[in-house]
């Protein structure tokens, strides 16, 4: 799985360069994310703008990354496609994870307090 990461202040922005996070790619995603977030960033922003769809395996992989980050560092999601939003809504995961409309909104100072 292709991931690009870039530091922006206290945020580490990780961009997923794949059109899906699913059963076929979830394990790779999890491994690559663990390598990508070795930084000390307080907030990890996962930019999913290139991702068209996600399934329950991909969702499980995202939860696994959140567990890896623990209580001190937060994983937040950015730019979800309609289909990805539907999966987060159906599983009620949208109630427990912060989702930002776009990267600009996600990194603006007010977002830190949310």
């Amino acid at each position: 799985m292709n991931l690009r990461s870039e530091t922006r202040g206290i945020c580490l922005v990780v961009t997923v360069d794949a059109d899906r996070i699913d059963a076929a790619t979830a394990v790779q995603f999890k491994d690559d994310m663990r390598r990508a977030v070795t930084d000390t960033a307080e907030r990890v922003l996962l930019d999913l703008s290139a991702v068209d769809s996600i399934d329950s395996s991909g969702l499980g992989a995202i939860v696994s990354v959140m567990k890896y980050l623990g209580a001190d560092r937060r994983l937040e999601l950015v730019s979800l496609s309609q289909k990805v939003q539907t999966v987060f809504r159906l599983t009620r995961m949208d109630a427990v994870i912060t989702i930002h409309e776009n990267l600009e909104r996600a990194v603006e100072p007010a977002a830190r307090a949310s």
Partner: protein, 161 residues
């Protein structure tokens, strides 16, 4: 991933009979073959007649059902066949899906569970979401183990665009 010799190009054999609104598709139990089967099934929906949200729901539900068979019934061996019968009956699609893999645990379809809002994000379960989504999206969901085969049937509602 399954061994190369199982990743055949043409594992989806659709005997399309759109006139009487019933199609049958069989595919090998691998993720790529399951994705092709989903594309074939969605291809049966006449463009513009169904809302994009319902198409998304159809795709999400089928992906979860097929993944479950590939990963659990056939335990990711990539060996085994999945047989699907699809009937178009307004206002939805009726599915019957058979496989020869392992039965469901305790012979029943597990319930699955959504995220728990009383817990932090990093305390959520890593699994159970697939079955929860299937149960939310599929109507008349029924699982049977008969003659050594798993049989799952359900209906997905499709509303007009």
């Amino acid at each position: 991933m399954p061994p190369e010799n199982h990743a055949r190009q043409d594992t989806v054999r659709a005997s399309a009979a759109v006139a009487d609104s019933r199609i049958e598709i069989s595919f090998e139990a691998t993720n790529p073959a399951a994705r092709r089967a989903i594309r074939s099934i969605i291809g049966q929906v006449e463009p513009g007649t169904v809302s994009q949200e319902d198409i998304d729901v159809l795709e999400i539900a089928l992906a979860e059902v097929f993944n479950n068979i590939v990963e659990h019934a056939y335990q990711d061996t990539g060996r085994g066949q999945v047989d699907v019968a699809v009937e178009m009956r307004t206002p939805g699609m009726h599915f019957t899906i058979w496989d020869d893999g392992e039965p469901m645990p305790a012979g029943r379809l597990p319930g699955g569970a959504p995220a728990d809002p009383s817990l932090d994000a990093h305390e959520q379960a890593e699994g159970g979401y697939g079955l929860f989504m299937i149960r939310q999206l599929a109507r008349k969901l029924r699982y049977e183990r008969t003659e050594g085969r798993n049989r799952l049937s359900f209906r997905i509602k499709l509303s007009s665009a």
